[in-house]
């Protein structure tokens, strides 16, 4: 499956069967999903399931076409392989046009949740909305068209604390009108002439090395790397769930849309803090990045060199003042590629993940003192906010508002 990845070097995007794919960790996945599940006065679970069904239908259809897989049994085998390759776990079971009951083992969301929260909370509701949408999408792509099937999680490992989940799939009486993925979206024509701040970190050399790493689901269908659980997610799943969620908040209770935005930003912040914190403490960082580092600001550059290897687009640190301020440009951010293909424009900056990620990179370097290899746990993270003086971010230029690229600042408060 690694052979099927297409790296768009100038734009620093990664495609798989026509869909942009990006890496994110379980901290991000869980916080973002939790945010969307929280308000029961909108159908958050419906947003998560439906978006998964739509985006994975496009991915699977692209895979079947590109690899010329015609037989139903082979399509199902490929769908299961892809599910594991992306880091979601293992999906097993016999299927037919009438539906089927699927067993999900080593679920990314369920095991990630149990690892992060299981010692302090008893979960009462199923968590595998992505897998539910994926299962329905697989049946749609194998036997019919988008919207022909629906799925339900009947047993969830995060609730039972057992060793598997069960997902039941069945055809619907009337096909639901669903919207396929916009694919790569509105990508930039060519890279903009953005000047990187002075550094000894070689972004492009790191990009090449990291693009070559064989990061794929293991025998359990999990991607364990840098002390987190990773997924190689179609970017448009994240995009669709976050923007639909905000659309739903705005429609029902517009006063709380800003709260939704804040929490999505936080999902970006927690993601970068843990994932990049762990990356910066890894042996890979020591061997690949550390030799290039000469100053404290090079730590931040190193972070962005890695970030621009994850399929997120071309991230450039254009200005940095040690321990005080930074300005980051993103040329062709995955959020805007989707946004501009889906919405006419935006009245405000809409790259919510990046708005949280940029201050987080400064926080992990200057407030988490990552060079001293602290223990990256909840205490360190919570103290970051409790003690104040952390960095806050702002989107100051936005492609979704007509600027040629997006820019973000992080300022010490």
């Amino acid at each position: 499956m690694l052979d099927c990845l297409v790296v768009d070097r100038p734009r620093k995007l990664v495609g798989l069967f026509g869909e942009p794919v990006i890496f994110h960790c379980h901290h991000y996945n869980l916080f973002l999903q939790q945010t969307i599940e929280d308000p029961d006065w909108i159908d958050g679970v419906g947003i998560l399931r439906q978006s998964a069904q739509e985006i994975f239908f496009s991915l699977l259809q692209g895979a079947f076409q590109q690899l010329e897989v015609l037989r139903e049994s082979e399509r199902w085998r490929l769908a299961r392989q892809l599910f594991s390759f992306l880091g979601f776990g293992q999906l097993e079971g016999d299927i037919s046009p009438q539906g089927g009951e699927l067993e999900l083992r080593h679920s990314h969301y369920a095991e990630g949740w149990l690892g992060k929260y299981g010692e302090i909370i008893n979960r009462q509701k199923p968590i595998d909305h992505l897998a539910v949408g994926y299962a329905a999408a697989a049946f749609d792509a194998i036997y019919g068209s988008l919207g022909d099937y629906e799925a339900e999680e009947t047993v969830c490992q995060a609730v039972t604390r057992g060793d598997h989940c069960l997902i039941r799939v069945q055809p619907v009486a009337v096909r639901r009108q669903l919207t396929p993925s916009p694919g790569m979206g509105r990508v930039i024509d060519q890279p903009a002439p953005i000047a990187r701040a002075k550094t000894s970190v070689d972004y492009e050399a790191l990009n090449e090395t990291l693009w070559g790493l064989p990061l794929a689901g293991d025998d359990d269908g999990q991607i364990r790397a840098f002390n987190v659980l990773l997924t190689r997610m179609p970017a448009n799943y994240y995009n669709r769930i976050q923007y639909r969620f905000l659309d739903a908040l705005r429609a029902v209770n517009p006063a709380l849309e800003a709260v939704g935005c804040d929490l999505i930003r936080e999902s970006g912040h927690v993601c970068v803090f843990y994932t990049f914190g762990n990356i910066m403490e890894s042996v890979e960082w020591e061997s690949l990045v550390q030799p290039m580092i000469q100053t404290d600001t090079d730590w931040v550059h190193g972070g962005y060199a890695v970030a621009s290897s994850l399929g997120w687009g071309r991230w450039e640190l254009v200005e940095i003042e040690s321990n005080q301020f930074c300005r980051v440009a993103i040329d062709g951010n995955y959020e805007t590629n989707y946004f501009l293909a889906t919405y006419p424009n935006s009245s405000t900056g809409a790259c919510f993940f990046a708005q949280g990620a940029v201050p987080a990179m400064m926080n992990i370097v200057y407030r988490g003192h990552i060079a001293q290899k602290p223990v990256l746990n909840e205490t360190l993270y919570n103290n970051l906010f409790r003690r104040g003086h952390h960095f806050q971010g702002r989107e100051v230029r936005a492609r979704e508002q007509g600027d040629p690229w997006c820019e973000f600042t992080a300022t010490a408060v």
Partner: protein, 199 residues
């Protein structure tokens, strides 16, 4: 000069090695009403310490009521391999005194100092009904102590309840809104009931 709770704490802790913090707290609203923080680096948030101790005292009172109703609640010992927490409730009162020390501090000495504080502070304790916290604030504080991602609890509860965070933070909620908040906090923690009474 008139004696205060702080001066009582100061007097009886003086000269005891390894003390990190001492405080007098109240279980009815988890407030810390007198405190001395000897090591702000180790005890970053002394009010949280008081609130967690308040939970310990409540749990111990409940335990004593269930299993040994005739006897008074005794010392509560908690802590880690490096720090120790010793808590003792004032008799028939929602107030308690807490001392946090290094484990190297001799326990017998700590108990002696706590006994002296209990005696001398008793007449200085304020009226326990003199509390300004609403039920909504108690619920929020509880969620911040026990829910994951405590810095974002207010925002999550705002989405769960449909109430604006500023309104939630002020704590002036209608009875129905308090019930919504109660349900939201219980859901965050994955429990059916909370140890806070709602009308």
């Amino acid at each position: 000069m008139a004696r205060t709770l702080e001066s009582v704490l100061q007097q009886h802790v003086a000269g005891l090695p390894g003390v990190l913090a001492v405080l007098i707290g109240r279980t009815t609203d988890d407030q810390t009403i007198a405190e001395i923080n000897y090591d702000p680096e180790a005890v970053a948030d002394i009010h949280s310490l008081g609130a967690y101790a308040s939970d310990l005292v409540r749990t111990n009172v409940r335990f004593c009521q269930l299993f040994d109703a005739q006897a008074m609640a005794d010392y509560i010992l908690a802590g880690s391999g490096r720090i120790r927490l010793l808590v003792k409730a004032f008799p028939k009162s929602p107030y308690f005194v807490l001392m946090m020390t290094k484990v190297t501090t001799e326990l017998k000495l700590v108990i002696e100092r706590l006994k002296a504080i209990l005696l001398d502070a008793q007449p200085l304790l304020p009226d326990p009904t003199d509390t300004t916290k609403s039920t909504a604030q108690l619920l929020l504080d509880y969620a911040r102590r026990y829910a994951p991602d405590p810095n974002f609890v207010l925002l999550r509860l705002s989405l769960k309840t449909g109430l604006h965070p500023e309104k939630l933070a002020k704590g002036h909620l209608s009875a129905n809104e308090v019930r919504l908040l109660y349900r939201g906090v219980a859901e965050l923690l994955g429990v059916e009931r909370l140890p806070i009474t709602v009308d």
